[in-house]
Symmetry: C2
Subunit: 203 residues, 2 copies
């Protein structure tokens, strides 16, 4: 496999969703402001079956992140949110769901969902095998990204900082009290809509 990466939009005050996030309301109350930068982009609209959209730096970064992904790992929570995406989810690569509940593999459109009950390391191994030379994206939610970070299994994290203070909601970094994790700035790109901060995790 390539790298294990995470790619997520966060408000400047650290939230990745507003309050009351749940399946059907995955971004929480008022959380759609986080993703305003993305909805108008061609590279977001296309895989979601929508026409048109903007090109440019933000679109290129989204496209770069998505085209590098050969397999995806999701937490159970994020999968439940993603269930609302219907019969053709936008992943279009093998998806591995970390869960306690054994289930048969599901195929929806070009996306497969494999349910992994023996932990995050196994999920990454399976996703890595499926990804070939490409990256494995730890696509969320927050909890599973934190678990991979804490376990030293994440190579790279890209945070898209939305220019807003949500004031409440679900945090990406909960402050779990663990050791410090050092990062190395890999790239910073800013546009009026969002600032893309890409870091390598120092191991």
């Amino acid at each position: 496999m390539g790298k294990a990466t995470a790619d997520i939009t966060m408000s400047l005050d650290g939230f990745i969703a507003g309050p009351n996030d749940r399946p059907g309301n995955g971004l929480g109350d008022g959380g759609e402001v986080l993703h305003e930068w993305v909805y108008g982009l061609k590279s977001w609209r296309e895989p979601h079956g929508l026409e048109g959209g903007a090109t440019g730096e933000d679109a290129d970064i989204l496209d770069e992140a998505m085209s590098a992904v050969g397999a995806v790992v999701l937490g159970r929570w994020m999968y439940e949110c993603a269930e609302g995406w219907g019969d053709d989810p936008p992943f279009r690569v093998p998806v591995f769901v970390v869960t306690h509940d054994a289930r048969d593999r599901e195929d929806k459109g070009e996306t497969s969902f494999t349910f992994v009950t023996n932990g995050i390391e196994s999920a990454l191994d399976q996703a890595g095998a499926a990804a070939g030379d490409k990256n494995v994206s730890i696509a969320g939610g927050a909890s599973i990204i934190r678990q991979y970070l804490s376990a030293g299994l994440l190579d790279e994290i890209q945070i898209h900082v939305a220019p807003v203070l949500l004031g409440q909601g679900k945090r990406l970094f909960e402050g779990t009290g663990g050791d410090q994790i050092k990062l190395e700035t890999a790239r910073v790109v800013d546009s009026p809509a969002v600032t893309h901060l890409k870091y390598s995790v120092v191991k």
Copy 2:
């Protein structure tokens, strides 16, 4: 006065100090990693009475932020931490301390401390009058910056994002549950040591 600004270093996971921060340990346990980017800069060392130091983009940004400041507002907590800075604190402008305890004005070196007991608005008014055309820096701690933000009294905020996940400590943004606050990206500058994110607060 010019603008009401705040300028503070934060870890990517939102902490401005490690745990157990207190006067004498203002950055908390393990928090000095946040300010690693600053200690070696000429524009930091000079006002702290130290010789030498690096020039360049990070130094310029620090210098820009400091030279624009005509007066400073501190919370009581930050003042208590600052008391440890001795007889010649590095502010060298009039400082207004928001507190419940009335005290006489103190002069230490080129810095004066005026204690304001009738609220943040009054402190900003007094600091504004003292600042002339220059900016008023709401210099911390976190609580006083949040109070000015919530009251709609802050014009600009610059966050220096240190490439580290502290995992625990004191947050800049506590998630007080208030309304969303929209920001406009004013400038982004990155170096290997730190990323400077400057925002205007949309009112």
